[in-house]
Amino acid sequence: MTETPLRRTSLHAEHVALGARMVPFAGWEMPVQYTGVVDEHVAVRTAAGIFDVSHMGELRLRGEYAGHVVDYLTTNDAKKLVDGQAMYTCVCNERGTILDDVIVYRHGQEDWLVVCNASNRDKMVAHFGRAAKDHCDFEDQTPCSALVALQGPRALEILAATGGADAAGLASFRFRAATVAGVGCVVSRTGYTGEDGVEIFCAWADAPSLWRGLLAAGRGAGLKPIGLGARDTLRLEARLSLYGNDIDETTDPLEAGLGWVVKLGKGDFIGRDALQKIQSRPLARKLVGFEVTGRGIARHGYPLLDPDGTTIGVCTSGSPGPTVGKNIGLGYVASAMAAVGTRLVVDCRGKSVDAVVVVTPFYKKGASKGAAGANP
């Protein structure tokens, strides 16, 4: 509906050439699917997928106090990071609710990168920019930094085949400089799919070379380009939160199941006092995973009821889970209804559909399948 022109990543022509359907997303024109959501989802679970996530925000903080600024704005403990290490964290406001969820990269003691959601970029630029003022240099690098994710059991093998052999040996949440498909880049062992894999940062103009090089090298291994549609079903099966769906400024990390990135003992940070209070009381509601056992698909915003028909929560994400083979969802429910095995009813536009609280993640990459590429 908005008349603001959509931004395009440097891979736009690649997506169009690959037959992608392009849609507006957080102010960007992005591929939602190429061959189909299920087909792409399965490719990532069984082989590998390549994603253009250049729309994500990249904020750079440099200087003697850059690390302090980052640590003060995040709930996880940035002080524990060493050079070449990254962490997932929430960024909260003074009320302890979530402004964004981000990954923080320590490039050096005085050089930090924060990767935020595209939908929150303006907000995060203002938030970090304000905090950095008078303390360290701040730069929004989003327009010059492309980001490509390579995910799936064969991702590391493809990375190694394109020159990134050193980077293929990275431990989880570690990153390093590398040359992949002839492109100078930074490779990070992170992702948003529940599969093994990496995310690769490069200069805006270099992304097409990187993209084509990876696709060419991975074709034999079953590598496919993946759109936002499958990115969403993959992250949901892995129970990774989506900002704007499962978490936002009305939810706090503790009820969202993100207590593991809240380090109340780390020293002062924005939201600490509020989170301390929240933690001292029993949670009123919790984000749980559920499986729809009746005929229906839960969608964002559908009410969740107890079997007597009383509303006890709301669905925040829901879709078919192509790998788990069930219709799954996430939602906030009253804490008394949060135990695994609890029967729920989803109000699917007036139709009552049965569901049950289940263990999450819905999908966990099989230990027995053996991360292909880990033992080449």
Partner: protein, 132 residues
């Protein structure tokens, strides 16, 4: 996949088709609709034989991985049959939307009503203009 709409039936702006024959009008959704939906995972037909449907009334929903859409009846009349195969095999919609994935059959109240819908070439033009 932009299958040309078959010439034997009529079409609506909601991307349903209506095929008259043997005193009935069979109803389904078009290839364009299917392409927009993606992988169909659930078809819910909320009417049963004997139910009366007014023109444009929703008779069910179709869901893909990403979205849900209502199904609208292109003409008024009495439901005579519903396609029960779609309950267990929603993927039929992706495989054969103009054939095996028919959804309901209507005994039209006004046998001429279907002739007021778009012909195949008009619908093809409509899709072309809608896509741009």
């Amino acid at each position: 996949m932009s299958d040309n709409p078959p010439a034997d039936r009529r079409y609506t702006k909601e991307h349903e088709w209506a095929l008259p024959g043997g005193g009935e009008v069979t109803v389904g959704i078009t290839a364009f609709a299917v392409e927009q939906l993606g992988d169909v995972t659930l078809v819910n037909i909320d009417v049963k034989p004997g139910d009366e449907l007014a023109t444009g009334k929703a008779f069910g929903t179709i869901e893909s991985v990403k979205t849900l859409s209502d199904l609208y009846c292109p003409i008024g009349g009495k439901v005579v049959r519903v396609n029960g195969d779609l309950t267990g095999k929603p993927e039929l919609v992706n495989e054969d939307c103009y054939g095996k994935a028919w959804m309901i059959a209507i005994a039209p109240r006004d046998p001429k009503e279907v002739e007021g819908l778009m012909k195949h070439d008009a619908y093809a033009d409509f899709v072309k203009s809608a896509a741009h």
